[in-house]
Structure formats: structure tokens, C-alpha cells
Amino acid sequence: MPALIDARELTKKYGAHVALDRANFTVESGRIVGLIGPNGAGKTTALRAILGLTSYEGQLQVLGREPLRERAALMHDACFIADVAVLPSWLRVDHAIDFVAGVHPRFRRDRAMALLAKTQIGGKRRMRELSKGMKTQVHLALTMAIDAKLLVLDEPTLGLDILARSAFYDALVNDYMDETRTILITTHQVEEVENLLTDVLFIDRGRIVVDSSLDDIANRYAAVAVATQHLEAARAEKPFFERRMLGKVVLYFEQPNLEKLAEFGETHTPSVADLFVAKLSGGAA
């Protein structure tokens, strides 16, 4: 079965600025993939290309379609929240539901109503009367009521308080996600999504620097907290990053020789957040 998203040499230039620089990645069906990168790394540009919102160079297939030319057809099977609070200020909540129900064959009104019922947002209210968090909740209710194969979320919980955030992620994993769906999510709150992701894509300056399943991270990366006396010996094993903490130095290794590293201290699999910092903090030590 071909990949759900297949990007080959995906490139996007804005004048002299290269937002995406020959990025290669695939997203398989049934996964929850985090696209993670610092601001300006090309996350949003990559999502825009995937969703058919911008032109690009290189090859890109999403659900077997060419996004820019076939956006309308693609949106039958894919849905997205590309940014928070983009529902127009004049739109009424009930009209928004009517509209999506009218134009989207995969929209399930009852599910949207059930999601909205939990929020106490009245149907007659216009978006301009709602707080940013409430608008986000309306948009999430509309989007999660669509039976889509691919859901793309760009910073979905920005502006939500901590209760709403955790409720959102719970709903995403427990009520929404099943083996027929795929979720691509960007966020800079890595810790928040770490536990629900099955795969990560790290993007930096337009290039994919890590493309791995979470299970694979344990095989591919290791971190060792090294006491100072072993530091030189450990450095000989070519860590790609080191970080000082509490009198020790944590060294990060790719394709580690775990037996060798164990001589310097206790090895552990870095968390996604730590790996992110290690990978994107400017190369090898």
C-alpha cells in the first residue's frame, strides 16, 4: 500500500528564502505523526503544500492526489485546522454547522453537536463574540465531526487553557483516532504530544533531520550522563550533542554502541523533547 503522504525533493522558495529545501518524507496510514521544528523551520510551509494551499517544486502525493491541483477532491478525505481562530468573525455557530453539513459529504452533524454540547457555546453566537479558546473549540468540533482519512492540525491547542488542552488530546486519541485514520500534527509544545505520537519528523531550515517512529528512537538514539572523568573517552565515540546538567554532561549518540557507552554511565533513550533540543541546537559538539 502506498504511503498516505509521499514527498520527494519537496521544495518551496519565497524569493531568495528557501522555506523547504528538498525535503523527503513519507507518512504511513494509521499513524500519529508529529512534525516538529523551531519557528521558521518550514513546518507551516510543508503543511500548506500537503493541503494544497501553496505551490511547490518537487513531487508530492497526498492520498494519491496532487494537492494543489486536486485540493477539492483531497478535502473529501482530508481535513485540517491550519491555524487557530480562523473562523470568520461574522459567522454564527449554527450557520457554520449548517454550512459544513451542506457541503461536506463526510460531515456528521450529530457528532459535531455532541462535541459542542460539552462546551456550552450557544448556536446563535457569532465568532466575534467568542474567546480565542472558544473559537478553537468550535473549529475542532467542526473538524473532528468529519470522517476523514487524514487530519492535519497546526498548533491545534494554541490559546486553550490546560484543561481544554488535555481534554482535546484525550478526545483525539480515545474518540477520534482509529486504524483508518492518520493524524499529522505540528506543535512546539513537544512534551504535550510526546505520549500520543507514533512517529516524529524533525524539520530544521527546510530539511527533514529526523524521520523516525517512536519505537525506532530507542534503537537509533541514546543519551548517556557522563561524569567528568569519562568525558574525553566518551567524546571519542562522537556524540552529536552534549548538554551540561547538574555537574554531569549528557552526551547524545546516533546509532549508538550501547555496550561501549555503558562504560561511561547509565544509558537511556532520550525523550522526544530532549532529542529535539539535541538535534536542533546547532550540530555536533
Partner: protein
């Protein structure tokens, strides 16, 4: 088809001015006919007054239609300039583009709203206004007006005028609408300025460098040439009635039928060259809409 219905409804939710402006305008006209003073013409001779009212009834109705159509033209122009720009400015385009609706459908629907739906709304409200005014005037000045205003044939002419004008104006102004859509889909700010300045600059550049006025004349002919193309003005007493009151003479058309010029309009190459240019501009607007998300 279902999608088109929802796209049009969405335009009504966003642009309540589509029906608010003509409703208020019509309301003011009705109020004016209710409370406005009226003056019987200088001559008190009832027969003469009746003749004048009879001759002027069609003129009066045309005046109301023209007033509505003028307001509508201004509104539609603004609507076309705004419709592909507003949702890029407030970023709601990111929501609309998440729906399975092609950019072609979106742009064509907005074009249809500007050229057909909005004029149709004005048509209905102009009719309602005219009916109410005719009723008010007939009651208030019944001695002079009598049943003059209630001739079916008179009303039929006004309906025909509206329908004929909506169709022909939509075709004639297609290049203008296409240009406005293109600017609306392209500009990052100052849509009004961008809609005027490039055309003006082209005309001025032509004048300065070539010493000719071709572009200026083309623009001028498109903007103001509509009436000359869609209507004809046959001379002669068979077509016009002149009513003399004292020292004044009022000349009014006998009826509107002889003024419509559909054969001339639809046979004119200018009509179809313009429509082709309009189609090209609309195609350009769709391409821009595909490639531009938010500002």
C-alpha cells in the same frame, strides 16, 4: 448544485448589506412618498394633470429602477473587490479551503452573486418599493392620479427592463467584474487603489510614450458604453409623446419595448470580445485563488 446553494447562502450571511442597503433605500423612498409634500403643476386643469401623470408614470418607474440599479452597481463593484480579499485578510480562507469546494466553484459563485443574485435582490426590492409608492401616491393624490399607475402593461415593461438589463449588463460588464476579481484575489492591501491605478498608469503611459489614447478609449467605452449597446433610441413622434403644459413640454417614451436592442447587443463584436476578456480575467483570478492562501 447543493454546494452552490450553500456558497450563496454564505455570501448572504457575510454580506447582509446585499439586502439591507436596498431595503433601507426603498424604505426611504416609501417614506418620502408618504410624508413628502406634493405640488400640483402650475395649471389646475384636472384633465391636463391627468395627461401628465399618465405620460410620466413610466418615466417615474424607470427613475426608481435606475436609482436602484445605480446603487446596486456601486455595491456590486465593492463586493467584487472585497470578496476574494476579505477572507485572505482575516485568514478565514484557511477554513473555507478546508472544505471540499474547488476554487473555481468559489470564484464563479461570487461572480454569480455579484452579477445575478445581487441585481435580482435589488429587482425584487425595487418592485416592492414601486408598488408601495404607487399605492401611497394613488391614495394621497387620488383626485389627480386615479388608477393611472395600475396598468398591467406598465408594470410588465418595468419587469422586462429589469430582466433585460440584468442579463445584458452581466455580459457587458464581465471584463470589469473579471478585473475586480483578479485584483481582489491578488492584492495584499489597498484593493481600491490597485483596481484603478494600473489601468490609469497604462493609459497615461500610452499617452506619454505613444501619444495615442487607445487604452483610455477602450476603458471609457467599456464603462460607459453599455447603454448605447443594449438600448436604442429611435427618433420620431411614433416613439415619443410630447405633452404640453402651459409653456413647458414633457417628452416621454411611448413604451419601453422599442428601446430594447437585444439583436444589436448580442450581435455586436464588442459584447463578445469583452466577454472573452472577462473570461480570461476570471480564469486568472481562479489561478491566483488556488495559489494564494492568506496575506
Amino acid at each position: 448544485m447543493n454546494t452552490a446553494k450553500w456558497l450563496v447562502r454564505r455570501e448572504f450571511w457575510e454580506n447582509r448589506a446585499i439586502w439591507l442597503i436596498p431595503t433601507v433605500f426603498g424604505g426611504l423612498l416609501v417614506l418620502a412618498s408618504l410624508f413628502g409634500g406634493y405640488q400640483v403643476l402650475g395649471v389646475a386643469d384636472l384633465a391636463t394633470v391627468r395627461t401628465v401623470v399618465q405620460a410620466g408614470a413610466l418615466d417615474g418607474m424607470m427613475l426608481i429602477a435606475t436609482a436602484f440599479f445605480s446603487v446596486m452597481s456601486i455595491y456590486s463593484t465593492w463586493y467584487l473587490l472585497d470578496c476574494l480579499y476579505a477572507d485572505r485578510r482575516d485568514r478565514s480562507i484557511l477554513f473555507w479551503k478546508s472544505m471540499p469546494i474547488s476554487d473555481t466553484a468559489t470564484v464563479l459563485c461570487k461572480l454569480g452573486v455579484a452579477l445575478i443574485v445581487v441585481p435580482a435582490v435589488y429587482f425584487v426590492l425595487a418592485d416592492l418599493t414601486t408598488l408601495m409608492m404607487a399605492f401611497v401616491i394613488s391614495v394621497r393624490a387620488s383626485a389627480y392620479v386615479g388608477s393611472t399607475l395600475w396598468r398591467g402593461e406598465l408594470w410588465l415593461q418595468i419587469q422586462a427592463l429589469w430582466l433585460y438589463t440584468i442579463v445584458t449588463a452581466a455580459v457587458w460588464y464581465l471584463p470589469v467584474a473579471g478585473w475586480l476579481l483578479l485584483v481582489s484575489a491578488w492584492a495584499k492591501r489597498a484593493v481600491i487603489l490597485w483596481s484603478i491605478l494600473p489601468l490609469l498608469a497604462l493609459a497615461v503611459a500610452e499617452r506619454v510614450f505613444l501619444g495615442t489614447h487607445v487604452i483610455w478609449r477602450l476603458q471609457d467605452a467599456r464603462l460607459w458604453g453599455y447603454l448605447a449597446h443594449a438600448f436604442q433610441y429611435p427618433p420620431g413622434s411614433a416613439n415619443w409623446v410630447t405633452t404640453v403644459i402651459g409653456h413647458d413640454a414633457i417628452t416621454t417614451p411611448v413604451d419601453l419595448w422599442r428601446f430594447f436592442n437585444p439583436a444589436g447587443f448580442f450581435a455586436s463584436p464588442q459584447t463578445w470580445i469583452g466577454a472573452a476578456v472577462g473570461a480570461a480575467l476570471i480564469f486568472g483570478a481562479i489561478q491566483l485563488r488556488m495559489r494564494r492562501a492568506e496575506i
